[in-house]
Symmetry: C4
Amino acid sequence: MSADKFAVIRKSAYEANIRLPKLGLILFTFGNVSVADRNLGMFAIKPSGVSYDELSPESMVVVDFDGKVIDGKLRPSSDTLTHAVLYKKWTNIGSIVHTHSTYATAWAQSLRDIPIYGTTHADHLTCDIPCASPMDDNMIQGNYEHETGNQIINCMNWKRLDYGEVEMILVGNHGPFTWGKTADKAVYNSAVLEELAEMAFLTEKINPDAKRMKESLIRKHFERKHGPGSYYGQ
Amino acid sequence: MSADKFAVIRKSAYEANIRLPKLGLILFTFGNVSVADRNLGMFAIKPSGVSYDELSPESMVVVDFDGKVIDGKLRPSSDTLTHAVLYKKWTNIGSIVHTHSTYATAWAQSLRDIPIYGTTHADHLTCDIPCASPMDDNMIQGNYEHETGNQIINCMNWKRLDYGEVEMILVGNHGPFTWGKTADKAVYNSAVLEELAEMAFLTEKINPDAKRMKESLIRKHFERKHGPGSYYGQ
Amino acid sequence: MSADKFAVIRKSAYEANIRLPKLGLILFTFGNVSVADRNLGMFAIKPSGVSYDELSPESMVVVDFDGKVIDGKLRPSSDTLTHAVLYKKWTNIGSIVHTHSTYATAWAQSLRDIPIYGTTHADHLTCDIPCASPMDDNMIQGNYEHETGNQIINCMNWKRLDYGEVEMILVGNHGPFTWGKTADKAVYNSAVLEELAEMAFLTEKINPDAKRMKESLIRKHFERKHGPGSYYGQ
Amino acid sequence: MSADKFAVIRKSAYEANIRLPKLGLILFTFGNVSVADRNLGMFAIKPSGVSYDELSPESMVVVDFDGKVIDGKLRPSSDTLTHAVLYKKWTNIGSIVHTHSTYATAWAQSLRDIPIYGTTHADHLTCDIPCASPMDDNMIQGNYEHETGNQIINCMNWKRLDYGEVEMILVGNHGPFTWGKTADKAVYNSAVLEELAEMAFLTEKINPDAKRMKESLIRKHFERKHGPGSYYGQ
């Protein structure tokens, strides 16, 4: 199989990965982006433990949706199986981002959903940002990264959330995962999540009795940007 | 009508918009500046959802004070009608800025006025920074952006504030709006508001019993910079 | 009187002023540095309300220790009389810095001294950083900036602090003033104060029962850097 | 003894030192890195009180493991004896870093261990980050920097921690020390510690009832990166 067919997703994954430190979402190697090619049924992902300065499109590792390495000289991110599970189940997503960004990770460590306190949040999703519970010990001791993907999907299903509308989640005690149809959107979602996490933290400190925003305002703002009557953007 | 007559406000709006990310007040496209020409009865505003990197003077959209697009190839900011209402009612302002800056937005989400705790605040205004209540559901479901403008004006009137003295407000659950005679002043006010919001947050965390500054000191600092006996600046 | 004799303090004041925004201590024009020439009995200070980008050595205003402008085309900082009072009373200082840096100002707004919680603090001074009370109304309505200088001196005297050992103070509801023998030291003290203010804030949030550091450790650290047996530096 | 034999550790110490301000871990001269040559039984360390801008490989001071200066024109860091004690006792470390980074120092001032709240922490160590108690007065008044080294070692021993697994500690009321086999690792550990300290602070503010992460998850994450079955990195 010629490596040429992977050039597009490798370039896209490389460019998305190097945006993470520029957006202040990554310390050292604490994160990774993958980009999928749905026709090939494969994705390109950051190699494990390699500094963002040293990445190149060629260093991205190509993996199939079962997590099998197809092409690349390096070992893929240790979180690769989590990405694979999500791509396999959620057939409309094209990119996944995982970071340990400061505020989002603090919420994950707090084991709390991030309440929807304002329109900045509602411009992107209409519910609290979910925090998946830490896994049972047998899942942790089993195929851990694979089970992390399952835990994310189970949490979304249990809360009846649509992965096409809610493109971000916290994994309890771990950190945030975001996704989207494109790499741009998945990276964008990571930065938005970090900002929402900081704003929600501050909101509760300023007013310990702060309430979730009311439903009518949530709906209005989400529908400005999304859905049939939207009028945001070009 | 020749587009040339819009060149000045387009350039001014463009330059003011691109200052927002440099001042750390904007993530992605979360904000907008407009600049009015009072003779024309029109203002230039950022196009909706366009990245700050991709803006140009030509991309600014010219709109009249009823919110009707007069000139420009792109769709104007989704907040355009809020700007239009304010320009129509407040005949002495020349520019309006809306951001989702982190601390100011957190106060807006907390539904609290920002108390006047120090001279940094009193150098700019003599009262708490007002937070307008979230709108009633019928306003939200009606002409939302237009009603946002009305809500701002009603809050100012109800609190008996003069828009020429108090050039900033929080819209509850949403975020800050600032204005001024010039684009420079309106942008300046946005950065000042963000700083005051952070300082007030910290003040309350350091001393939960912190009190508003006394009136004599508020008056003194405001009058140093404003009014007939002012002696600040050149 | 030839302006040449002021060239040294003008250059020094200019260079010190432009360091403030680089150190993150200043938003817009919220601060000023002055540098004194003890032989001339005068100091050079930032002009009022002029942006840091537009400063030059020539724009610095030369003032005597009674606050009378001796040389310069612009109006001096509105805080000039505060500087003058301090230079007149404290005959060993050569430079004064005033900022509205975020954390130090929040402590000033909280009307609290900053407790000495660690060796970073004790490396610079052996007591809590004092916060002078807000002035009485008659002082505020009188010669305000002059009285601000008096309030600083009175607070230091009342707390029996030596201005040669304690080179920083908060003015309640206002913000920090620092000083030193040289402009470098006075600017250094402003940055140190801001760091100590942030660390003390965090310390109390992490441990609400945090205690001041014990005296033996305070003494040891201060004496490492200062006094006859010091062994810090070259 | 020819100075040439010190060229490698001097260059390495120099390069590690100048990384500290770039990583945001240092204000002015508040920190130091040393790098050891185990064959020579010596280490190169930052000179005391010299600005990071003015450092060069040649300015690094070479000291033996008893703290005696062997080569160099400048006085070594005032913390040199602490480094010496650690190198002498812990024969497998090659570099030591000391900073006063903001969040880690705030925890040190709080006299609290940093609880292990998430996988970011467990990726690096499996226990809370220890905070050594402030020393007794006789230790403070004795050979202070030497005793600081002893206090670190005693704390590690008392808590039964292996310096090869736990490469970071807080010294109560003072600040963080980190170490590693290489300068890169020791500097890396300082930046990681600062990030963990900020995340833990936020976690407790978001959820005052936050619990330490469970043991099974701690083990899993540590073993992903360390030990015989590790699969992180290349």
